[in-house]
Amino acid sequence: MSKKNRDRKYGSAESKGGNELKTFYWVIAAVAIVGIGIVGYSVGSKAMSPTVSAPIVLQGIDDTKLLEMANPRVKGDPNAPITIMEFADFQCPACGGFFAEVTPQIEAEFINTGKAKFLFYDFPLVQVHPNAFLAARAARCADDQGQFWPFHDTLYRTQGRWSTLQNPAGDFEDYAEQLGLDTGDFTDCLRSDRHADVISASLELGTKLQLPGTPTIMVGSGPGMRRRVASTIEGIREGVAAVQTGGG
């Protein structure tokens, strides 16, 4: 606004109208500074966080150590005679379908009955699913607070949303909050490199096993005894039956 025009219309800066306008501009500036500060800080702090969202290079790890490091999450009786293993990627739609359709049947038929235990291995295919590694780390961060499976379930149920995001860390923090986790600890974990070694080891293990994709399901009954089966309840039933009759 030209000062001359403003003075002619509203009066000079010292007049009532001029003072009102001056106060108004101060208020606008204050709101703008606060707003830019809050939004800018939120975006900036997220962008600058050292969040590891891709596999790291593991050196000098032999197969035994790799198996140990991969550290699958276990559901069911650890002493159950049969083991059902899933290598999965949280961002893979087929894994989401497996979770929704097959996992409840596995639980009902094999886990809850004590016939088998279920092992979840991370196999994040980051080339095609850029958020998969961070999702796997987020689940491990939830595991630090004893909430791996609830977080695992939430990730699959919300897969359609966070899969499309450039950076889903904020969503994962929301899920942690909704599950009642200590969000401070969760965020500290997520915005770091914690568990990147475990996920990378699991990924390396899957690669060495030459897995064809995700989900890959295996059924076994002891160390080294496993057979790959179709990722359907029928395939798993057949696999369990074969293992029980010594065909594992």
């Binding site: 219309k9 109208g17 108004f24 707003g35 975006v43 450039q166 929301d174």
Partner: protein, 160 residues
């Protein structure tokens, strides 16, 4: 246009000074606040920031089918709406446009559309999605206040 609005000389020959339209100042400040709320929600929709949500269920609302209009996130419409209202209010505070009926009616019209859409979204939260997003409610409140602050524009329009 009345002499009160025009700044024409009064009986004593001195120019009659008028205060800037106060309702437009209020509209501008509110629209700026609403703009930042919408920007924050848009940043969340784009995955740029986490959403601090307290006890409400922002994620449920933001993940619902109503969170987008086609490919456009609803907060983007909010940013557009608030930015337009802010721009018009700032323009309407300039001496050359202080009496502008067109600007006043545009502000009122945009605010009316905004408050109607906010009411619709609030209805969806209550009756369809069955979850509340505190930032969405905050935006609806701000838009309602913008609408109320824009009501004097009708009087200004009728007078000029």
């Amino acid at each position: 246009m009345t002499s009160e609005d025009s700044g024409d000389p009064d009986d004593s020959g001195h120019p009659r000074l008028q205060p800037p339209p106060r309702n437009r100042m209020v509209v501008a400040v509110l629209a700026l606040i609403g703009l930042f709320i919408a920007l924050y929600l848009l940043s969340y929709a784009l995955g740029l920031v986490p959403l601090l949500c307290g006890v409400s269920s922002c994620e449920t609302v933001q993940m619902s089918e109503w969170a987008k209009v086609g490919p456009v996130p609803v907060p983007a419409l909010g940013v557009l709406g608030y930015a337009s209202i802010l721009g018009l209010a700032m323009l309407g505070l300039q001496p050359a446009f202080a009496d502008s009926r067109a600007i006043g009616l545009l502000i009122f019209g945009l605010a009316a559309v905004g408050v109607a859409y906010s009411a619709f979204l609030t209805y969806l939260e209550a009756a369809v999605i069955d979850a509340w997003c505190i930032w969405c409610i905050a935006s609806a409140v701000v838009m309602t206040l913008v609408f109320l602050a824009s009501l004097p524009e009708l009087r200004r329009g009728a007078r000029t």
